[in-house]
Amino acid sequence: MQEFEYINAKTVSEAVTLLDEKGDKARILAGGTDLIVQAREGRRTLDWMIDIKSIPEVNELSYDSNTGLTLGAAVPCYQIYADDAVCNAYPGLVDATIIIGGTAIQGRAGVGGNLCNASPAADCIPPLIVLNATCVIAGPNGEREIPSEDFCTAPGQTALEKGEMLVSIKIPAPQQNSRSYYLRFIPRNEMDIAVVGAGAAIVLDEAKQRIISARIALAAVAPTPLYAEEASALLADREISDTAIDEAAQAAQNIARPISDMRGTAEQRTHLVGVLTRRALNGAIQRVKDDAA
């Protein structure tokens, strides 16, 4: 492992200044469950490691039933699934946080880091996309916000510009009769990276018979996690039916452009997009139906 300097930043502006000064040889350390492994295995060279865990804003976890969730960039998974209000409001996000690594990893790894690592197979990103999450970014020119589906630009690449860092993620408060769901396919029951991941969020009518709107997102079938816009739109204002769900699954398969690698073949992944999209949609619908009226 190469030598590097460790800096413990105390404020967002200090971190941003450092990032701006050091350029791409500086990396932000939050949970470190990706960064330290990458550095140790020589997959990423870095001269500066900027620890942001002492910055108050990146540790914020606050939920309000009117305004929604503010999730600091360094909040680890375990804090999310230990929060009853968050679990109740965003079950699809919780689905992802409980399957990332084991218990020890979940004590460090966070949703913000999962987003910034920009893996095509990141489990947390499809839930963020279906939950309409936005990313709050700080940089030398101040703050800006972008939709979560626009955050990843290529494997390991993000929309962050020089000197910018992710401060927090904002998720709107859930609507009436809405629920989310995320699942992935892995050949084992644990300790695997998603061969395919699918997330869905669904809003039903009062009678829970009709879909008002839906959002579908996919992982591990393209260079970035994908928002399945057409598949989502197909479900708007439709009765719940196998036909409707099959059509959405087909539309989701149409946008998948997977590769074959050691984790799965392209054909297998395309097939699984259909299977998982159906299961995610049915899972989200079932959650709404299971909610007390």
């Binding site: 492992m1 190469q2 030598e3 396919f185 050949p187 084992r188 029951n189 644990e190 300790m191 695997d192 990276i193 061969v195 690698d261 050691m262 984790r263 799965g264 073949t265 054909e267 297998q268 395309t270 097939h271 699984l272 299977v275």
Partner: protein, 751 residues
Amino acid sequence: MSENKEYKVIGTRPIRHDGVDKVTGRAIYGADFQITGLLHGRVLRSPHAHAKIVSIDTSRAEALPGVKGIVTAQDLPAAEDKMADLGEGAVNLKYLCDNILASDKALYKGHAIAAVAATNPHIAGEACTLLDVEYEVLPPVLEVRQAMEPDAPILHDNIRTSSLGETGEKPSNVASHLQHKKGDIEKGFTEADVVIEREFVTGTVHQGYIEPHNATALYNPDGQLTVWCSTQGAFTVREQLAEILQYPISKIKVVPLEIGGGFGGKINVYIKPVAALLAKKTGKPVKVLMNRADVFEGTGPTPASYLTIKIGATNDGKITAAQTSLAFEAGAYPGSPVGAGAMCVFAPYNIENVLIDGYDVVVNKPKTAPYRAPGATNAAFGTETVIDELAETLNMDPLEIRLKNGAKEGDRRADGPVFPRIGFIETIEAAQEHPHYTSSNGKKHHGRGVASGFWFNIGLESSVTISVNPDGTVNLVEGSTDIGGTRASIAMQAAEVLGIPAESVNPTVVDTNSIGYTAVTGGSRTTYATGYAAYEAAQDVVKQMKARAAKLWDVDEDNIQFADGEFSSINGKEEQISFRDLSAKLSQTGGPVVGRATMNPAGAGGAFATHVVDVAVDEETGKVEILRYTATQDAGKAIHPSYVEGQIQGGVVQGIGWALNEEYIYNDEGEMTNASFLDYRMPTCLDLPMIDAVIVEVPNPGHPYGVRGVGEVPIVPPPAAIANAIYDAIGVRMTELPMSPDRILKALGKI
């Protein structure tokens, strides 16, 4: 399980002697070893699967501060094409040396090229990036059938196929061809009413031990070389070092530290000679450790294979003929376990007409190493699947067809040996009677499969000494690495003889200077052969202690009896003394008592197993879940039933991994793309049900307590049993391992 009342210690379940050290983290494993002045070594490995090494320039690495020494194949004594004697079989010395540090060609990605010793591991690692190696890249050959093609890239210009006493004329990747014949194969198939012939492919899989390879070496100024390491056999390490380094065996001491798994993969040496070369060059102790990728890419997996199996039977289920062709990947150098596969392929069945052909084929993958019943699992996958199909065709219960044809005492294997008393039939009967097999399994997408397996087990040399302590305990010194609880199973055999509790025996595994020659912990031999030596050494103690009692009571030695831990005088004087009390009187009766024995027993007795598995298949994703697993096995006599069960469970789990997801995945350039535990998918506890281990005891006539080795055979049946269960669930026969979700989807026509 039979209740055997004749024993006091054997068949009980005492806490293992090494348990406290291991559960408290105090046990010293190879990587834990520390010594003053230690340098750290790192090996540079080939990025190419097949390449000529044109030149190695070490100058930039040498200039890095902290670098203390660099070695390449040039630092090995010039290896000739001669056979090296390793006790257990001769090996071509040049191949042996070239696998340690490549001299002219890199034959697989991960092949060791050079090594650096530095003041810390990070500097050694950085220095490796400064070694300039010029390669001439050659096309790799990565699959056994491709390697056998006449126009395949050739790995070794000097290999000519050795076939049934003849040597081929042209260079070939087929190093050897063997054959076993019994009866008249044509006649056998003519007599059959049903003949089924199928092809099978199995992937390259690794032993997957948790602890990576490690070695620390030190040369004393007087030329004494000491190597501290984890290994399955300190003496085989000593032999390999002596051959590879061309160094006197008496000047090498190998100190075995605790081992974190081996499964056959820690018999061959890799970095131990490298540590020795670096230690010699620097004059300092040098520790070399592998990481997980090094282990996958640089150490022996077990071979991928291609086999055809053809079996014929009459309408009443009698098998009349069986034929196979087994082509095994040896990896970069000859020496796959195809010979063992050929011994096991039809061994469970008494078949009159048999023809077995085996091919040992080199490919651009790491040199294969033993893995738990090496070769037998590949072979049984084919045989046991075809037997299942035969049973189905003949409308017979799959256990019935095995019962009808199962080998018994006096039956001869196609490769020669005649079975002594064996317990195959008893394992089938145990499976038939088990509530698992008698329960229903009617759910949709659920299936049940069965399969059997055989492993011959081995004996080989073991030495044990036992010294008596004044408090009635004994110290037992042995040379067998304890991988699976053998300190306990060996100590218990001595305790039984001495009439003392298992806890009163203190077993210690010692270095090569401190005990007589002892062969590797492998071949399921340790509880059998070292246990046998412990039994004999304890008998020696009893004999000497009888003499002390005779002296004490002033009677003739013939008048001393020993039973239940008590010495007594017969014929006249009525005297009695316990083993413990007599132990306190040794100094006054002539001094210390040390019993000793060396053994090389021939009657290992074969091991058989029959497994039953239920699976659920998700037809949408192709994922197979193991719902229930029952493994019956003839242990001969279970010395410590918990560790027999542990061996059975561990073997089954490795077999499940091999069956479902484990494999080396290669890209076109011959690079393994999944050299990590993340992507080399071994099952975790979340993927497995509790494995129900059923011990059957048909005593082995070749051991005083009837012991048969138990460690290997449980890995043999699982892939076939699971394939048969998948067929039962979804109606497709899987003929390629692993039966991973994508292959299941393909077989179902979903992709």
